[in-house]
């Protein structure tokens, strides 16, 4: 017997209201589709607001030699050559248009002396490339898209609503099911197409810059519905998170600090990045900087709380710091009692971003399930094994738009009437309501404690450095927690009950954690963010492989997929990067970049 629930209809359902979701909704509605945007938080609070540094785009406003081809090359090299090159190609060309579009929608950017959009330096970008406004570019992006979306006819927003299952019919996706967080009311949404713009997942780790929302529900739901997840082993540790005081541990310290000249030092005062990456130094890629800090701490040269010192005070005047890094100044003053115009910051690696996600087609953002699309951090392919700073805000605009357009086209071709399966709805209702089914005392497993146990297991055994032994421990812990998870019980009712909400979140996090660990086990090499102590080098064979996770007969399996290799003409672009090194190319590309392509910088 089905619980009472409300049913809504739309052409395109967008799951998530960060930059990717908002941009997708604008496209879908402009194409004439009725569009519902579902947001777990209030509108405008999604993780996009946390992005600080800027949007990478090869405008060449500050450094004239820059352009989309150099941006293409930097992104592929930063991703250690396992990116989907077609996505990078579309991205590096179109992000320029998306920046100007944002400006036309009222977004503001800092300017050059002659009034053009200002660009700043960032890690592993050949040139100053990040369009920014102070250190609040993400807020500017989300507010601009939010305002554009609410004033676009055909859009509707369901705020504080969590979707927990994708509903499918014989043709593919038919909608989704979930609950209203405020009222606890259950809700089914029938849709002609669904865009997952549900962001990434960091909450299964103890120290993360992610908010409570980063539980991986989108990826987990997609996997349950039959979609393939790709590159799940690649989880980005941002090198600079706060590490003190304890409550602030994990909060992001923007790469913009180093972009504006900040340098990292160890306890001996040494600028250690000169040793690990003599060319890019403090602005090396995030995987390299995070590992370097880890190694310094292991060698006994860490800061008092186990990190490194980030010093901007000796590099810039107090007035410049307050102007270019206002929220960093405020954050350290309020939370740590540190004046960054006078003292160094104490920083260490924090889980920040997930390169992996739903496997999608480059042009349309279509997943392997008909009618299901994915964009932004929820999708895989653009960033390969490591994302460059500034490429996520660009990603959400470029592929949010593409996903919205493709979903609208699909929904229109499919027609309005979807039927949803009563059985799927009832199964999900049972799962959702089970933790409330106790005697009311809540006796059973506490979801918060299970969450904390998962965080300990993932942080310790599937963190910045991994080995077969540690990953197998993590896998065993996940299995045990999944078993205990069936006994999660909470007290209280359905009205805004965070304990109840956490129960389903824990299940999603377990699914995603399993995908991370199984993929990390299968990738027996070190590449980008994946650092295997037992396989410290790159494996030439695996440089042609993406790992894919999918459901088969109720179990999760990992499979290899051959990467589509870059044609020779495209490959030549790599030489445009300042960081191109022909000797580092894998065997299948070796010798194919002609010396005529190499640019002297």
């Amino acid at each position: 017997m089905s619980e009472p629930h409300v049913t809504r209809d739309c052409d395109v359902l967008v799951v998530g209201a960060g930059g990717a979701g908002l941009r997708a909704a604008i496209s879908a509605a402009e194409a004439g589709c009725s569009t519902i945007v579902v947001s777990k938080s209030l509108l405008g609070k999604a993780h996009t607001v946390m992005a600080e540094g800027g949007i990478a785009a090869g405008l060449g406003n500050v450094d004239n030699p820059d352009g989309w081809e150099v941006h293409f090359a930097d992104t592929i090299l930063g991703g250690q050559l396992i990116n989907n090159w077609r996505m990078v190609d579309l991205y590096s060309r179109e992000v320029i248009d998306r920046v100007y579009e944002l400006e036309r929608w009222g977004g503001i950017f800092d300017r050059t002396d002659d009034g053009r959009i200002m660009q700043r330096a960032f890690g592993a970008h050949s040139f100053r490339r990040l369009c920014h406004v102070g250190d609040r570019t993400g807020l500017e992006l989300i507010r601009t898209c939010q305002d554009r979306m609410v004033h676009t006819a055909g859009t509707d927003v369901l705020a504080e609503c969590t979707l927990t299952r994708l509903l499918t019919d014989g043709d593919g996706v038919a909608g989704a099911f979930g609950y209203n967080r405020q009222s606890g009311e259950l809700i089914a949404i029938r849709a002609g197409a669904v865009v997952l713009a549900s962001g990434g997942w960091g909450r299964m780790y103890r120290y993360t810059s992610n908010s409570w929302e980063g539980t991986g529900d989108g990826a987990a739901m997609a996997c349950e519905a039959g979609a393939e997840l790709q590159d799940m082993e690649f989880v980005q540790f941002h090198p600079t998170g706060m590490i003190w005081p304890p409550g602030a541990r994990g909060i992001l310290v923007t790469e913009g600090v180093r972009g504006e000249g900040g340098i990292l030092r160890n306890s001996e005062g040494e600028r250690f990045m000169e040793r690990y990456d003599p060319v890019k130094k403090d602005l090396s890629s995030r995987d390299v900087v995070a590992r370097s800090i880890y190694k310094e701490v292991e060698a006994g040269r860490g800061s008092p709380h186990g990190g490194a010192f980030l010093d901007i005070a000796s590099q810039r005047s107090a007035a410049e710091i307050r102007k270019k890094l206002p929220s960093m100044y405020e954050q350290f003053e309020a939370l740590a009692g540190v004046d960054i115009t006078r003292e160094p910051m104490e920083v260490g690696p924090t889980i920040h971003y997930t390169m992996g996600g739903i496997r999608v087609d480059a042009e349309t953002a279509a997943s392997t399930v008909p009618g299901l699309y994915a964009a932004g951090e929820a999708a895989a392919g653009l960033h390969g094994a490591n994302r460059l700073g500034g490429n996520s805000l660009g990603d959400i605009l470029v592929f949010g738009r593409r996903a919205g357009e493709a979903a609208a086209e699909f929904a229109k071709a499919r027609g309005p009437h979807r039927t949803i399966s009563d059985k799927q709805v009832e199964d999900e209702e049972t799962l959702l309501l089970r933790p409330l089914s106790g005697d009311g005392s809540g006796a059973g497993e506490n979801p918060y404690q299970l969450h904390r146990s998962l965080q300990e297991a993932m942080q310790d055994d599937a963190g910045i450095g991994r080995s077969e032994a540690s990953l197998k421990r993590a896998l065993a812990a996940i299995g045990e927690l999944r078993e205990r998870g069936r006994r999660m019980r909470v007290s209280g009712g359905r009205v805004l009950n965070p304990g109840w909400h956490t129960c389903r979140d824990v299940e999603f996090m377990l699914t995603v954690s399993e995908a991370i660990v199984r993929s990390a086990l299968a990738r027996t090499e070190s590449r980008g963010s994946q650092w295997r102590f037992d396989f410290p080098e790159k494996d030439d064979r695996l440089s042609r492989i993406n790992l894919v996770v999918r459901r088969r007969d109720g179990a999760m399996v990992v499979e290899e997929r051959d990467l589509e290799l870059m044609p020779d003409a495209v490959l030549q672009r790599l030489a445009k990067s300042r960081f191109f090194d022909a000797a580092a190319l894998p065997s299948h590309y070796a010798g194919k970049v002609t010396s005529a392509s190499v640019v002297a910088h």
Binding site: S41, L42, G44, K45, A46, V49, M50, Y100, E103, R104, G106, I108, F109, R111, D114, G115, I117, M118, V133, R136, L139, E140, R143, D147, V150, Q182, S211, W212, W244, P245, P246, G247, A248, I251, L252, S327, E330, Q331, A334, L335, A336, S441, G442, A443, E445, N446, Y448, Q449, L450, R452, S453, R489, V490, S491, G492, V495, L496, N497, P498, G499
Partner: protein, 293 residues
């Protein structure tokens, strides 16, 4: 401590503020509450947190929380959720003062819980209440949807159709806009504004957050709309008598009164109350100029 007074329009109308018992909820997992954290000070913090739903029992529950160095109020509330009361509802997201979700009244002051350090508060029990100017949903969470409705009434940024990008804009203009654009929509200004707090003018008053929004649009060098009549008539700009309460609570340090509201008032006055223009209209027998398209 007095209980929350029910003065707020539709806010949690608790007059007694009685203590309500908290039943021990979901059993602490094996091994009891969370393992000790590093940086424990050894002290204990007492929190009195408002609890309840409209129509149900309303009051305060008291919790004892082990203090950690640099602890903020949101850390303490999270500790309570994890260890003592899994049902306790609060909003939060970034925990870094960038999203404006965790607004509450701490010891009577509207603040972000994520940037309010416990060691900056006076000694003794810490009282945590929801925003009083908004209808209660549960515990520390209120219904702020009215703000999103107001935003829909404000015509969005509009450039001249033939004004193609790339644009040239002076940094000076960006600097002026940036102050307004820093707003994180925490709605603390909407909460503290006495026009909202003491009167039921919801249909006739946008409130400080949306004066900031209108100012950011009106001052944008590429925007071509004129929202002065809107902000005067529908927005109720005249109700603001510049007490600067909004400016005081803004966690982004936006000078709401000086840099958003007063310039808007001046622009409205220019349009309607400039004595030279008034005389000119009087002599010509015309009404104020229509809004620009």
């Amino acid at each position: 401590m007095a209980g929350p007074v029910g003065g707020g329009r539709g806010g949690p109308a608790v007059t007694g503020g009685g203590e309500i018992p908290v039943s021990p909820t979901a059993s602490p997992a094996a091994g009891g509450p969370s393992a000790p954290e590093s940086g424990m000070t050894g002290a204990t913090v007492t929190l009195r947190i408002f609890k309840g739903v409209p129509g149900g029992e309303l009051g305060y529950a008291t919790y004892e929380v082990p203090e950690v160095v640099g602890m903020v109020v949101l850390d303490a509330v999270h500790w309570v959720q994890r260890n003592l009361d899994t049902e306790l509802a609060c909003r939060w997201n970034c925990k870094a003062a960038k999203c404006g979700s965790c607004s509450a009244e701490v010891n009577g002051h509207p603040v972000l819980m994520c940037k309010t350090r416990i060691d900056t508060l006076r000694r003794g029990p810490i009282t945590v209440q929801p925003l009083r100017s908004f209808p209660l949903i549960k515990d520390l969470v209120t219904d702020v949807s009215r703000n999103y409705e107001i935003n829909k009434m404000i015509p969005p940024f509009t450039a001249a159709p033939d004004d193609g990008t790339p644009w040239r804009i002076a940094q000076m203009d960006v600097d002026r806009l940036y102050e307004h654009r820093r707003c994180i929509e925490c709605f603390l200004c909407q909460d503290v504004c006495h026009v909202n707090r003491g009167h039921d003018l919801s249909a006739r008053f946008f409130g400080p957050r949306f004066f900031v929004r209108v100012a950011s649009l009106e001052m944008h060098p590429k925007d071509v709309l004129d929202r002065r009549d809107l902000v005067r008539d529908l927005g109720g700009l005249g109700y603001c008598n510049i007490t600067k309460c909004c400016t005081d609570v803004c966690p982004e340090h936006i000078h709401i009164t000086d840099n958003s509201i007063i310039p808007l008032k001046e622009r409205v006055a220019d349009r309607h109350w400039d004595p030279v223009r008034w005389l000119g209209r009087k002599l010509r027998g015309t009404s104020p100029p229509p809004e620009a398209p």
